[in-house]
Amino acid sequence: MSFVKIALLGMLIVCALGVSFTRNLLTSLIVYMAYSLMMAVIWMLLESPDLAITEAAVGAGITSVLFFVTLKKIHAIKGDKDHEQAQK
């Protein structure tokens, strides 16, 4: 069992817990993105390049983009124009 793998698996758990304990939605989303990318690396280590490429493209890519659009729609991203409008 290589050190890298143990570290990655440990980080997965930390990220998963982090999603629940961060205050800001944007932060938890970014933590989740990191989680997805680490998952892609782990799949590479498990000799499944098909999965790694799909997870990187779909899981970390498209899913996160969809999340970001949603956050923008619900004015959860600080500093954008909508957010200020929503505050007024």
Binding site: P49, D50, A52, I53, T54, A57, V58, G61, I62, V65, L66, V69, T70, K73, K81, D82
Partner: protein, 338 residues
Amino acid sequence: MSKRRSDWEQRPQARFLRWMRDGYGALDDQITTSISQPAAPRPDQEAMEAHDILVGTHRHERELALDRLAHYDLQNWANTRGRKVLGRLYAVLALLLGLILIYFLLNTVAFMPRFASADVPANNEVIARYVEKGLEETGAINIVAGMILDYRAFDTLGESTVLFIAACAVLILLRIDLDDHGQPMQQLIAEESDDRHYEPKNDRILQGSAMVLTPIILLFGIYVLFNGHLGPGGGFSGGAILSSGLILYLNAFGFQKAGRFFTYKIFMWVSFFSLGFYGVAKAYSFYMGANGLHSGIPLGTPGAILSSGLIMPLNIAVGLVVACTMYIFYALFRKGGL
């Protein structure tokens, strides 16, 4: 009858029943309402009006008023301390449930076949045939592609259908209806506060890098798509990469420009042709296989780009469905239409 009924409403049995009804939802959902949410002020005046109506003559108005009162009661209760305690209790229970689940699953894992060893039950005659005969029977170098598009093609057909149906569900949810002239209803747009007002932003850095990156991303996506049977990748990842290229273009140049080549009609027709092709091609091969006939599709030389029978066209069909679905997800989230 009605008089007795209103008496009855006051009695403990009726309260119990009301608790069963309202409290039913209350027990499993309202308990956990955010503590931080500001309490909705009890609308005293409205409650007074409700009382006024209560002494009115019409029975259905009275019923409605009773309901309204019950609702205010519920909301009030929802913001009292007892509620918070129950909320904590629910949280603790949920946490406990999660921990118990983890404990049981960990116990199970300890008894699972040993990781990474060759004598696990999964290492059986099934994968022996996939690995040893896969190249010969499907013609695909990538055994995974051969497996999901030939041996177990029905699953993959179902999976493409999942994407299609998901796109349709999001269309139901987010698409802004067009009026009779084919224009989106203005009032709906205003209501839904979409992004059309901010389009396009004309950011030079974004547009410049998109100019460079979009063709590269699209090219890479096409490469992955066409190489699904020769190496890692295939329909799903290729389609996702294609759609990310399209999304980048859309973000940089706005809906006006993207709408020139990608409309709702095009989405529907592309999905129609890809899924239809997929369905018909696989139906043909299922039918032939089930009735013991030879499908007569040449497998070609393994390793060549035009090989492995139907796998490459099917990959392309899947990729198109994936790309369309992802793009339409994004477009619908942004502005409720294409």
